[in-house]
Amino acid sequence: MKQFVDLYKQLDETTSSNEKIALLKNYFLSASNDDSLWCIALFIGKRFKKPISSTQLKQWVAEKTNLPYWLVDECHHIAGDLGETIAHLAYTNNSEKNILKNLNEIIIEIASLKNKSDDDKKAFIKEYWNQLTKDEIFIFNKLISGSFRVGVSEKIIIKALSIAFKIQENEIAHKLMGNWNPFETNLNELLFSNQTENFSKPYPFYLAYALENELNNLGHTKDWQAEYKWDGIRGQIIFRNHEIFIWSRGEELITHQFPEFEHLKKHLPDGTVLDGEIVILKNNELLSFQHLQKRLGRKNVSKKTMEELPAAFIAYDILEHQSKDIRQLPLSERRNILENIIPSNNVLIHLSEKIHFSTWDELKEIQQKSRTKSAEGLMLKHRNSSYQVGRKKGDWWKWKINPYSIDAVLTYAMQGHGRRANLFTDYTFALWHNGELVTFTKAYSGLSDEEIKEVDAFVRKNTIEKFGPVRSVTPQLVFEIAFEGIAFSKRHKSGVALRFPRIARWRKDKSISEANTLDDLIKLISQHV
């Protein structure tokens, strides 16, 4: 445990990627294989069932410290992180610190709490709180509460593993994907076993950066393939050993949410892996992302849902053909194979259209009209590009259309969590309607640290009322809110729901009377369709 706690602390205290890689490499080489496996699982964000609720933890720490529950709750709200809050509250420096168990042992003990009574759970937790140091209590709480976020990206883990065990990075990336379970496997099996044993395993996705240069700098138009960028879920369809698996880009197995794709067994050759977009396509019309979300939210999909919200796959690329990994082939060759295997006139699967263009100006016009196709912009891919791992610059670019935007008035503010605890960073905005301001969306981020401080000071000086952590403020500040999509919604007071709302800029030049109206917003919906 101590070794892992030290690792966490050191990772937390450096901003340098190289230093993080070195720390992790040293850990992988010196910790036990079991602990290393857990370290990987925790840091890449594998989630486990919580055996204990946050409320229970707060109650027990209130009990232990003789503090009222509301005070523990206030502390949690201000510190932002429950594990950290409890570490500061529960730590006592008079007890003996003598828990010498390793990470693996503690995790197994925590997992076995699942079937215990609340009293047993409490006794277990309190025993640990008494015997651990403050840093250890923090990590222990994190293990219990099931969420583990550190400033370590998967890329860093992969690099560290690659150096430590002398395995190629993209091979490790592939091995870490998929639904391996640290309770059921071990480090050797994960890293060194033959990968074909696990038929469900997807390839790491190749992700594009947003286009940053002038189009002309990309060179010849004939070197580039342009496609629409669809607003669905990026996914992989895997057909191996007579079985279909569907993976989302978030590395979640979503086969059961889309049972219709089972039929693809009849239409695709075995030993195929496709990259594409899962969308809802009804009578040849692409429905908005909201409809897709309804499908994702359901564990069991009924026939009725499938009829109302039929899913389809728009294939962008082929990664495995005749059971061979073909990611190193140039895109033009992969595209030829793809065109050959995608059946025509099939409702379930479609080939992503190649856009014909001869000049960059022509493409620009197409890009600007892409919303009429319900696309969110274009993708540009170099014809010679291989299918790479992760987000890489150069060969692939995404070229999104400008988002919608509207000027709105700040009406409520809430304190942030974690990095921004103590600052008012979460805002709610309103638009004019019949002479009143009507709340219509929340929006985060998009402001600089300086601006956040400024808004924070404004909120403190202009609070009208406090509702728990939320404050209503004098309407005075105007912000431009950008968003990607918009739809009618019964659940929202304003009657509309936005997709990806964010603050584009602070309109210090505008007074609240110049903010937009709800009608202005609703007009955008009709443009959308």
């Binding site: 410290t65 005070l71 510190a79 950290e84 500061h88 730590y91 921004r420």
Partner: protein
């Protein structure tokens, strides 16, 4: 009421005198020389003798300053006053006010742990205690300073071995000298930024013992400054002055460093939890030791802290002041 909260500051009507006012008044008693407590424009200032030089440095040579020693009684319009050590920074005082048998104490900023350079906090019996509560939440529990300084020295030694400078950000009056006094036996040379050196100079002139430090200026041979300790104010972060001292690691010494989020937000390599304010236990024990019935909380988590005090049996209210630190932002931990 013996003391009132007005829009100019804490006011004693019988004596016609203000304590730490934030607007221009005739007569001001100043708890300590931090800029949010000692403001410009008063006709007459009264403070502890050790605050005088800094007060002149900050507010001008021409201001009219009268000084007192700790525990030296004086009267204004029949109201009895005296200053008592607050342990916050050099010269910091609690103000005791007595009239017709009723005693109020204004804590100013204080801490209960002795830091080795300020006179140690002294509990003063009173009926009403006006307390700060910058860190008035039970998550704020300081470790003994010796443990923190040991950790700091280990960090410095590691950087020294890596030939990397250790830049420690600390507030110019108080925190900086506290660090200097506690680490100088373990390091060969201590370098300072101009803002820190100015304060050191003034304190040395007024006969406060501060270990020798070396100012970094245009004439300094930067090649020699490798693997050294540099004390700088937080405002020096991301300045060209600091960039010349690369390679370095940064640390911030502040009570706010308790929370990981606060450290991340400041983009600092290392946080040392050292504060010149009382922690949760310090606040609670200080209040208990005054034997008071009424507490007025200012300066910090006033609402939460006074609610807590009411729950454990005090008459307690929260009052708004213009002392900083309420924004809970590290850059404002002037206090």
């Amino acid at each position: 009421m013996l003391l009132e909260f007005t829009n100019k500051g804490i006011y004693c009507p019988q004596a016609d005198v203000y304590i730490d006012p934030w607007r221009t008044v005739d007569k001001a008693i100043i708890t300590h020389a931090h800029s949010d407590h000692a403001r410009w424009g008063m006709k007459h200032y009264l403070c502890h003798e050790k605050s005088k030089a800094i007060l002149h440095h900050r507010l001008g040579k021409e201001i009219n300053v009268e000084t007192k020693k700790y525990n030296e009684p004086f009267t204004i319009n029949g109201v009895g006053f005296s200053l008592h050590p607050a342990g916050h920074v050099i010269g910091s005082s609690q103000i005791r006010v007595e009239h017709k048998g009723e005693v109020w104490v204004v804590s100013g900023d204080y801490k209960t742990e002795c830091d080795g350079i300020s006179d140690a906090f002294e509990p003063v019996k009173c009926n009403t205690f006006i307390t700060e509560c910058t860190f008035g939440l039970p998550i704020y529990n300081w470790h003994p300073q010796i443990d923190v300084f040991n950790e700091m020295i280990r960090w410095i030694k590691q950087n020294e071995a890596d030939k990397i400078n250790s830049v420690i950000f600390a507030y110019a009056l108080g925190k900086a000298q506290r660090i200097i006094q506690n680490i100088y036996p373990y390091v060969e040379e201590l370098y300072t930024h101009g803002a820190i050196e100015n304060t050191n100079k003034i304190l040395r002139e007024s006969e406060t013992n501060i270990a020798p430090t070396i100012l970094i200026n245009k004439e300094s041979d930067l090649k020699k400054i490798k693997g050294k300790v540099i004390i700088a104010p937080p405002s020096a972060q991301d300045t060209p002055w600091l960039r010349k001292l690369e390679p370095y690691k940064t640390a911030l010494a502040s009570g706010w460093m308790t929370l990981r989020g606060a450290r991340r937000r400041r983009n600092i390599d290392k946080g040392f939890v050292i504060s010149d304010h009382a922690d949760w236990n310090g606040l609670n024990s200080a209040i208990k030791n005054t034997g008071c019935e009424t507490v007025i909380a200012t300066h910090g988590y006033t609402e939460i802290f006074s609610k807590w005090l009411r729950q454990i049996g005090y008459r307690a209210i929260a009052e708004k002041t213009q002392y900083e630190g309420e924004t809970a932002d590290i850059s404002n931990e002037i206090a």
